[in-house]
């Protein structure tokens, strides 16, 4: 795997990245900046989805896999059979924003319990008007918008809110493209949607952000509240997975280092949320130590834990 052998006299070397479309903008930004540093290294980035990315990764077709969720047991198994070891590196957060239309005047914040009532599978066909969620809200029909069921955002939201991956009502308007959701909810007075925070930031003129009360009072997602973990539980980490064999190549090593060092600055550029500065230090040392395997051992999820906690736990083990 890992690209053509660079034996040919000073031919450009290459690094292949593929995977999540959520992580894509960040990887693209890093690759772009890396060019000024090492113009002879051709970094390419694809977006065949986290699942598609891992498939290629587990066959040794890529050096680095972008992922918007931790690797699954099956995917790890596939890597193992192919003799591929990886280093798992969190690189940023994707904040999930709960939004309503600008025309909606009655929703000022929402609790996690209310979100659950609204989205849980049992709500399908029964929870139809807003007054069923909170009695002070009007008896107006509810229209829900959310990401497609095949997306990491859907998995994460359902797990964080309803407690189980994929536990969601089905009668909502789904689309894989968040811009499409923006269109939908913006013109729908009774609508509510959740999607990546960056899509709210670019459309704040049409949408109203709904602060979420996770137990410590309503908190609106922002770069700050997501990064420092106060906006819980709706922010999910994004990862890159690096093939340890590829790390033996100098350019890959250089690139990954460059990635971690610049992720903080660049993630703001592309609309995702950086980790805390100290967390990046931990990630860098994790990479330096070539710690293989995942932080998310059997059954553990990324929901409700700060990245620092997770990384610490791993170090401690």
């Amino acid at each position: 795997g890992g690209g053509k052998k660079s034996a040919e006299n000073n031919a450009a070397t290459s690094i292949k990245i593929d995977g999540s479309s959520t992580v894509y903008p960040l990887s693209e930004a890093v690759a772009e900046e890396f060019r000024t540093e090492q113009p002879n290294v051709n970094v390419t980035v694809g977006e065949s989805g986290t699942g598609g990315g891992f498939k290629k990764f587990s066959r040794g077709e890529t050096d680095i896999s972008d992922a918007s969720r931790p690797i699954t047991a099956e995917e790890m198994e596939a890597c193992k059979t192919a003799g591929i070891n990886f280093i798992e590196l969190p690189v940023a957060y994707d904040g999930l924003a709960v939004v309503v239309s600008k025309q909606n005047t009655f929703i000022d914040h929402i609790t996690v319990a209310e979100l659950k009532k609204l989205w849980e599978p049992a709500a399908q066909g029964t929870v139809k008007t807003w007054d069923q969620i909170r009695s002070s809200w009007p008896k107006e029909p509810i229209n829900l918008y959310g990401p497609g069921t095949a997306s990491g955002t859907f998995d994460y939201f359902t797990e964080a809110i309803c407690g189980k991956k994929g536990a969601s009502r089905g009668d909502y308007t789904a689309s894989e493209d968040d811009n499409v959701l923006v269109q939908g909810v913006a013109n729908d007075k009774g609508g509510l949607a959740y999607f990546g925070l960056s899509y709210f930031e670019s459309n704040s003129d049409k949408l109203k952000l709904v602060p979420v009360d996770g137990g410590n009072g309503p908190i609106a997602p922002s770069q700050e509240t997501v990064s420092n973990g106060t906006y819980a539980p709706l922010s999910r980490p994004m990862f890159i997975y690096v093939n340890t064999k590829a790390v033996e190549r100098k350019e890959v090593q250089g690139f990954v280092k460059f990635y971690i060092e610049n992720a903080e600055k660049l993630s703001k550029d592309v609309g995702s949320v950086p980790l805390q500065s100290n967390e990046y230090k931990m990630v860098l040392s994790r990479f330096a130590a070539k710690t293989t395997g995942t932080i998310f051992t059997e059954g553990k999820t990324s929901v409700g834990m700060s990245m620092a906690d997770l990384l610490n736990k791993q170090e401690g083990k």
Partner: protein
């Protein structure tokens, strides 16, 4: 006579619907994207900053893909159509292929992507190369080319074949010198439609492993690549407004590219049709 003119106005109305939708689409796209197009947009590499991002690699990747796809699919498609029309005398095999082809035309493009990934990328070890992408698209457009070419061949009057055969031409000489030249115009129509389709395809190429961020122009058929529709698709799903403008600008370029292809083919077709009239 009244019905006649009624139909005429109805027909003009129908034609206008198509053209109006086209005009609306074009207006929408041009009003969004035209100002973004400048030399930099065409010659820049992809970038996270919408205003700095360009389509150089996507454009070249697309030209590679289209050229190779035409080179692969047209000969095969025309050859297959010739076999079905001129050689197989309606035997079972031909019937089987016929049904088979119309089935293939209905297979969603993403499934071709999966096929291409398994066969060209993995089995034949072509990697995520321009060649693997072109081969995949070739399979995708093959049914369109075959079906259209067959119709074209059918339209050639039998008397021409008889005359040629009667002069002692071999079947192949007859096909090559009489039949194909006589229906060249209609074949081109089919190819235009097929290639137009190939140019706009996104999903199968993503599956085959076309990338999005490619900071270099492919030099050989074995290089990695990206194409304009993938770049556009990526831009339309980005949150920042600047990328929406970029997407529109990209679409304009893509359309210009398609216009160029179409005009070449149409000029050829019209010139040809003028020459051949029964």
């Amino acid at each position: 006579m009244f019905k006649d003119s009624l139909f005429k106005y109805f027909a003009i109305f129908c034609t206008s619907i198509g053209l109006i939708v086209l005009a609306l689409l074009l207006f929408d796209i041009f009003s969004k994207g035209l100002t973004r197009i400048d030399w930099d947009f065409i010659t820049n590499l992809p970038s996270r900053r919408p205003e700095r991002a360009g389509i150089l690699t996507a454009l070249f990747g697309m030209m590679w893909i289209v050229t190779l796809t035409i080179l692969i699919a047209c000969p095969i498609g025309i050859a297959a159509a010739v076999y079905l029309e001129e050689y197989s005398s309606k035997n079972r095999f031909a019937k089987f292929i016929e049904i088979n082809i119309s089935n293939l035309a209905g297979v969603p493009s993403i499934i071709y992507g999966i096929l291409g990934l398994e066969v060209f990328v993995r089995l034949l070890k072509l990697g995520n190369s321009v060649l693997a992408g072109s081969l995949t698209l070739s399979l995708l457009v093959l049914p369109v080319i075959i079906v259209a070419t067959r119709e074209a061949i059918k339209s050639v009057p039998n008397s021409l074949r008889e005359a040629s055969i009667g002069l002692g031409a071999t079947p192949w000489q007859t096909i090559q010198r009489i039949v194909l030249p006589a229906c060249f115009g209609s074949i081109l129509t089919g190819i235009i439609l097929a290639i137009s389709r190939a140019v706009g395809e996104t999903a199968p190429l993503i599956v085959v492993g076309a990338l999005v961020y490619v900071p270099f122009v492919p030099q050989t058929p074995m290089d990695q690549f990206t194409v304009l529709p993938i770049q556009i698709f990526n831009w339309t799903s980005r949150p920042q407004h600047g990328f929406v403008v970029n997407a529109a600008a990209g679409i304009i370029i893509l359309l210009l590219f398609v216009f160029l292809l179409n005009s070449i083919a149409i000029i050829l077709r019209n010139r040809h049709n003028k020459r051949v009239k029964y």
